[in-house]
């Protein structure tokens, strides 16, 4: 086990219980710089709950200890987390203020997710896929901010994304991992990746 000291997030004896059902018990996991972790399992096996627990959003029914020692934590959930009545630029500007990123990168981030022409269109006029890509643009902003110990927690990032988008996203994740960050994601698709990957299989696995 990598020693826990430089782990971005250290999980000790984690037990999760939701709706009276024990999802998992006594999980030990260290996620350090350069780790890519894929959480798999049938629906309802607790993938999202585990991810939200790592993000610190979910403490109900949690036993054991989760210590996050990262400079920056980014969680992209099922919901896009953007305001419909704001433009992508306004949404991302607020995210920059919140995380301490430099707003000058907003345009380049939007270009990389293929929304270059729509920076100033109200998000309510964008399609669901486009709105998710506004959310994904945060990854590029985080990437440009170059925080050393940056942890990405992505819940089903590939949903409603076309083939080109999937390739671009996996490439971004690979860069983040090589740069010394860490990525934890849940997905039903297998990752077309050659870099080392750790698979956490819940619910007794396949």
């Amino acid at each position: 086990m990598t020693d826990a000291a430089d782990a971005l997030i250290a999980v000790r004896g984690l037990g999760l219980e939701r709706g009276g059902k024990a999802l998992l018990a006594d999980l030990d996991l260290d996620i350090a710089a350069g780790h890519l972790v894929l959480i798999e399992g049938p629906n309802g096996s607790g993938k999202t709950t585990l991810l939200r627990s790592l993000a610190g959003l979910s403490r109900l029914g949690l036993s054991g200890r989760i210590e996050a020692r990262c400079d920056e934590l980014l969680y992209l959930g099922h919901r896009a987390g953007i305001k419909q009545l704001l433009t992508p630029r306004e949404n991302l500007a607020w995210a920059c203020r919140s995380q301490g990123w430099d707003p000058v990168h907003i345009d380049s981030a939007l270009d990389r997710v293929g929304l270059s022409g729509r920076a100033d269109l109200l998000c309510q006029h964008l399609s669901a896929g486009q709105q998710r890509r506004v959310n994904l643009a945060r990854l590029h902003l985080s990437f440009d901010a170059r925080h050393k110990r940056s942890l990405w927690l992505l819940d089903e990032p590939f949903t409603a994304i076309d083939r080109g988008g999937v390739a671009a996203l996996t490439d971004t994740m690979a860069q983040q991992v090589r740069r010394g960050g860490a990525v934890v994601l849940t997905s039903h698709q297998d990752l077309p990746l050659d870099i080392p990957l750790r698979r956490v299989v819940l619910g007794g696995g396949r």
């Binding site: 099922h78 305001k83 919140s98 925080h147």
Partner: protein, 231 residues
């Protein structure tokens, strides 16, 4: 590689501007409480009778009870939109202190509902035959009182945002906490209308406001974390 903590002031300013921008782009949320206030105020003369002397006597109480209900109605949906589209989660995950970030929501709510109510209250007061001498005190008590109502209403909103039928519930858990505000605020206006000195009540209101500003954000932040977790 700037690792210094993100600027707090810039973040709070951006959050407040974002809330006000959202309110500006959806004016119905701002106008509703005002229309509600006007509508309910016109009910009272129809119910009690148009006799000016009688209306004037009830005016302070009516104005403040209707202001309280309008503020409560507006407080209910304060976090609901952000809760449903996931931006409340992003707020909780932000490295910025939630104690102050939640205050920006309350401040925006006050600016969008409390201040318009305060500015229009003289209009409603004259409809209820409130003596003109009491108008300045009415404005002052409204300004202070609606701020407390917003802060306490935010606690109720934070605790009930994840509940499906949160609307009715927020009135049960929050109206009892509004009672001291109603007593001192309406009392101040009545004192002014009858020519007494309203200063003690106004000072007590100011005292309650400072207590609320200091303590309410703790309850609001805790409420938001619980609601997002339970969602």
């Amino acid at each position: 590689m700037s690792n210094q903590p993100p600027a707090l002031g810039a973040f709070l300013g951006a959050s407040l501007r974002r809330q006000l921008l959202l309110a500006y782009r959806r004016p119905v949320d701002t106008i509703n409480p005002l229309l509600f206030f006007l509508l309910v105020v016109t009910l009272f003369p129809l119910g009690i009778g148009p006799d000016p002397a009688q209306l004037a006597e009830f005016a302070p109480g009516i104005l403040w009870i209707v202001a309280l209900l309008a503020s409560l109605m507006a407080a209910e949906g304060m976090f609901r939109q952000d809760y449903e589209d996931g931006s409340l989660e992003q707020l909780l995950l932000s490295p910025q202190p939630l104690y102050l970030a939640s205050l920006t929501y309350t401040a925006a709510h006050w600016l969008v509902t409390g201040v318009p109510l305060t500015l229009l209250s003289p209009l409603f007061a004259t409809m209820l035959q409130l003596p003109v001498a009491a108008l300045p005190v009415l404005l002052l008590s409204m300004a202070l009182g609606t701020a407390i109502l917003s802060l306490v209403g935010s606690i109720g909103a934070a605790l009930t945002v994840s509940l499906k039928r949160g609307g009715m519930l927020i009135s049960l858990i929050i109206v009892p906490l509004y009672i001291p505000v109603l007593i001192f605020a309406a009392g101040a206006v009545r004192f002014a209308a009858e020519g007494f000195d309203p200063a003690p009540q106004l000072l007590l209101l100011a005292g309650m406001l400072s207590l609320a500003v200091a303590l309410a954000p703790f309850a609001i932040s805790a409420g938001l974390r619980i609601s997002v977790d339970a969602g």
